[in-house]
């Protein structure tokens, strides 16, 4: 289909590119009463962009009708945005591991075994547990009228659980999961089990001495992944280059604590965002966004790059029936040197937050937040004393990242983010 579409379009447009993606996902879910359900989903989607008479239009389909796809794309271009688009030329693809042969062929029995292994490790009489095992195997083909024709294969496999303690004073249900190209191994399962135990085992503190209005806080990796949302929004695409990001126009400035280094790495082996080429046909490369507190780069795709007069950084993502978007691949926050226990000791009296219930407010780019922390634990003298109910956290993400207490050495993958524990000084804390 790719060659047919581009051959038809080449004489009629100034440029065109096409992304064809396939996906074959198999999921085994085991409910709290032990019943299992098996679901399979197979899809094939094509996403076409054409540039014609200075305008750009998009069309997508999940069928095989090339004529319909071309017709829709040309019609969209007649109403599309005015932009001078330069498509990339062919270039060698970098090596990146994005597929595991074992994960690609994992069957129901394999996934069921993984899910049940997690279930057995988590099971207690006072818990309600749902677990699942999943694998997705797919392919991506990217081509354009300048001769790019690239293809790669991907797999994504994982296990996950929603665990709820039953009884008075129990913590809210916690959801944990792992995802990577390869099937999860025993250490991956043990990591999830440890996290669940850390979150559910500390008892609820019936009474807590009054908390000061601001306290040091240790954010565990899953909480960090949530906490970074405003920063991610401020670093990406149109908002960063031309919109209302607070970081706009500040490239080269030292805006953050010098302990903070942030890299987007599509070449990290075997991770959810690993890929050799983006959906615009631009070769993927590692991109340092913040280095020792200094802001170095924003993400761009071809269109944002054309509007902002900057090169694409290879961060285009396209999905069927949705507008193309600029997005991260594998975002990695560089670890520090202290272990988690040292961070808790350094904190003195403070809170350990395992996860956050994010509520970004009307202007998420501004970084201000007020959010609940249902998985908050009081730490004194380096020891977790118990869970606190009703903790509400307030502050500003950018201000907090400008003055970090310390960064842990426990880098952990949470989806496509690799983040360690952060010690943040002086976040607003209230107990309801």
């Amino acid at each position: 289909m790719i060659a047919r579409v581009l051959d038809v379009l080449a004489p009629r447009v100034s440029g065109a590119d096409l992304v064809v993606k396939t996906d074959d996902t198999l999921t085994v879910a085991i409910s709290s009463d032990g019943d299992s359900r098996v679901t399979s989903s197979r899809s094939r989607s094509s996403h076409l962009r054409v540039a014609r008479e200075g305008r750009v239009g998009y069309a997508s389909t999940e069928g095989d009708d090339a004529g319909e796809l071309i017709g829709h794309a040309l019609a969209a271009a007649s109403a599309g945005g005015e932009i001078e688009l330069f498509l990339p030329a062919p270039a060698p693809l970098p090596e990146v591991a994005s597929r595991s042969p074992q994960a690609a062929v994992a069957d129901v029995a394999t996934l069921d075994g993984l899910a049940r292994a997690l279930l057995e490790r988590l099971q207690r009489s006072d818990r309600r547990i749902e677990v699942w095992g999943e694998r997705a195997a797919g392919s991506v083909q990217v081509a354009n009228t300048r001769g790019v024709l690239a293809a790669y294969e991907v797999t994504l496999a994982g296990v996950g659980a929603v665990v709820e303690s039953i009884g008075a004073g129990s913590a809210p249900p916690c959801r944990v999961h792992s995802a990577a190209s390869a099937l999860p191994a025993l250490p991956d399962i043990e990591r999830l089990v440890s996290e669940v135990e850390r979150r559910l085992l500390p008892p609820l503190l019936d009474s807590c001495p009054p908390l000061p209005p601001a306290m040091p806080v240790c954010l565990a990796p899953r909480a960090v992944a949530t906490f970074l949302r405003p920063l991610r929004a401020a670093l990406a695409g149109y908002e960063a280059w031309l919109g209302s990001s607070p970081l706009r126009g500040k490239l080269g400035e030292r805006l953050f604590d010098e302990k903070l280094t942030l890299v987007d790495d599509p070449l990290a082996p075997g991770r959810p965002g690993s890929r050799p080429i983006d959906d615009d046909g631009v070769i993927a490369r590692r991109l340092a966004l913040i280095e020792r507190g200094r802001l170095l780069a924003f993400l761009a795709d071809l269109e944002v790059g054309a509007r902002a007069q900057v090169p694409s950084t290879g961060h285009s993502w396209r999905h069927p029936a949705a507008a193309p978007r600029v997005g991260f691949t594998n975002l990695c926050l560089s670890p520090g040197i202290e272990g988690r226990a040292t961070l808790l000791t350094m904190m003195g009296r403070g809170l350990l937050l395992e996860d956050l219930q994010w509520n970004g407010g009307p202007n998420p780019l501004a970084g201000s937040f007020t959010c609940r922390a249902p998985w908050a634990y009081l730490v004194e003298g380096g020891m977790v004393r118990g869970r606190l109910d009703g903790v509400v956290l307030t502050g500003n993400v950018f201000a907090a990242l400008a003055q970090l207490g310390a960064i842990g050495n426990d880098s952990t993958w949470v989806g496509a983010l690799c983040v360690p524990t952060l010690l943040v000084e002086g976040l607003g804390v209230t107990l309801r």
């Binding site: 409910s31 709290s32 009463d33 032990g34 019943d35 299992s36 359900r37 098996v38 679901t39 399979s40 989903s41 197979r42 899809s43 989607s45 750009v56 239009g57 998009y58 069309a59 997508s60 389909t61 999940e62 069928g63 095989d64 319909e68 829709h72 019609a75 969209a76 271009a77 007649s78 109403a79 599309g80 945005g81 005015e82 129901v108 309600r128 749902e130 929603v162 709820e164 809210p172 249900p173 919109g243 209302s244 269109e303 069927p320 029936a321 949705a322 507008a323 219930q357 994010w358 509520n359 009307p362 501004a366 007020t370 609940r372 249902p374 009703g390 509400v392 307030t394 209230t430 309801r432």
Partner: protein, 455 residues
């Protein structure tokens, strides 16, 4: 499509077989600031084949395209046999219907060209800029879609339906003296573009929201009587009631409102009505072919019913309510809310405000998020109530807390019921995202913690 679907169903050897096939035509125009950023068109075709074997349960296969439906169903049967169910799975019986609902559309959005949609979107963007000098950025998203659905089951159900829907979403950024505020607003309707009645009122309302926030002061945290406008009341009741008025979904709340329990005062009656006319989430039948019907969830403060699909209805000895909804093209149908309503009470907004010396009036809900039975409602716009009248705007308003405790603080419901035509969507665990509508009158709660998220 009828012949290949029925042919595939007839070949299946499973106890129960079902194919839902969907084709979705959509167009999108996005104007950001003064530039067209996206003009696009899409056609998605795909669906779900699923089989149920009484002893082992469900197997389901999602697919793209329309080819080899018999193969998809055979694979679903294989997966059903590989599943394991301790209790036999049964489906509550429903009357078998053959419905042809794919009537020609009098106002088909596919007949309107993208250039015309672009022009309308650009006009709206210009209108937003012209409304106030402090507007520094806008985003206008036009989207329309026509969904054609075919549903066939081994019990003989056959449904063919065509549903158009349109929506407009606006975002306005206002700036003054270094202060930046945003406001969002949207409208959606079932039908073509002429169905978007009242769109003229949307741009000034969104601009006013952003500009008003520029000078709003943070609310002083404390306990107040709180009055919610119909949009906010509907959003609160959807989140508080609908999400736990049905059996647990995978990865979502495991709690269920216990039947017969008193959760609020006699003025609190909440239900879900998929038959309400002209709303985006309304439907004749649900995604299992059950005729949709209005269901009362809370009657005069007492839990009276749940929302069901066929499986959950059978498991709880109830009749299916027609609320089986698939959250994605290839997703399985789960019990989900459609048009959640709070039944009207008595009196007007003025009656609810009367007697409040100091309180908070909350409108334009930004989000309702929850974890377990703890949840928070964040307001996009709010005003203080002083001596029985609406007073100065405030920001940072959030209410929330333990779900049942909050419902227990309801003390009055006005009579001014309206359906909210915002393009609201409900995300619920692994069950995906479905469009929803809410309808409510003004609602008053007493002694609610405001600001910093407390109840």
């Amino acid at each position: 499509m009828k012949a290949p679907l029925l042919d595939a169903i007839s070949q299946s050897r499973a106890g129960y077989s079902e194919i839902r096939l969907r084709r979705v035509w959509s167009t999108t125009v996005l104007v950001r600031d003064r530039m067209v950023e996206v003009a696009g068109a899409g056609v998605e075709t795909g669906g779900l084949a699923r089989c149920c074997s009484p002893d082992t349960g469900w197997g389901a296969v999602g697919f793209s395209g329309t080819a080899r439906l018999d193969v998809q169903l055979r694979r679903a049967h294989e997966l059903a046999l590989a599943a394991a169910s301790r209790q036999p799975v049964s489906l509550a019986p429903i009357p078998i219907r053959q419905l042809e609902l794919a009537h020609p559309l009098p106002d088909d959005p596919r007949e309107v060209g993208l250039p015309e949609k672009r022009q309308r979107a650009e006009s709206l963007a210009a209108e937003l800029y012209a409304a106030d000098r402090r507007v520094s950025g806008v985003r206008v998203l036009f989207r329309d879609e026509v969904i054609e659905t075919w549903l066939a089951t081994s019990e003989g159900t056959w449904i063919h339906e065509l549903r158009p829907a349109v929506s407009v979403a606006l975002l306005v950024v206002a700036e003054e003296a270094g202060n930046v505020e945003r406001s969002l607003g949207s409208l959606s309707a079932r039908g073509g573009w002429s169905a978007l009645a009242g769109i003229e009122a949307l741009p000034p309302r969104v601009v006013e929201g952003a500009v008003e926030q520029l000078h709003a002061r943070p609310v002083r945290p404390g306990r107040y009587p709180v009055v919610l406008d119909p949009g906010a009341a509907g959003a609160l009741l959807h989140r508080a009631v609908s999400h736990i008025a049905r059996p647990a979904l995978p990865g979502a709340d495991a709690d269920v409102l216990p039947m017969g329990t008193r959760v609020g005062p006699p003025c609190l009656t909440v239900g879900d009505d998929p038959c309400a006319e002209g709303l985006r989430a309304s439907a004749v039948c649900d995604d299992e072919g059950t005729l949709a019907r209005r269901s009362v969830i809370i009657q005069n403060g007492v839990v009276l019913g749940h929302l069901h699909n066929r499986e959950t209805a059978a498991a709880s000895g109830q009749a299916p309510t027609g609320h089986a909804r698939a959250g994605t093209l290839r997703g399985a149908p789960h019990p989900r809310a459609t048009n959640t309503y709070l039944a009207p009470g008595e009196g007007s907004l003025d009656d609810l405000l009367k007697g409040i010396r100091s309180g908070v009036y909350l409108s334009d809900v930004l989000s309702c998020e929850g974890a377990g039975d703890d949840f928070a409602v964040r307001a996009a716009r709010a005003r203080m109530i002083r001596d029985g009248r609406l007073a100065e705007p405030v920001k940072g308003v959030q209410i929330g807390g333990e779900l049942l405790a909050l419902l227990g603080r309801v003390d009055a419901v006005a009579a001014d019921f309206v359906w909210d035509s915002a393009a609201a969507r409900c995300r619920d665990g692994a069950a995906g995202v479905v469009p929803v509508t809410t309808g409510a009158p003004h609602l008053r709660l007493v002694d609610v913690g405001v600001g910093q998220g407390s109840a």
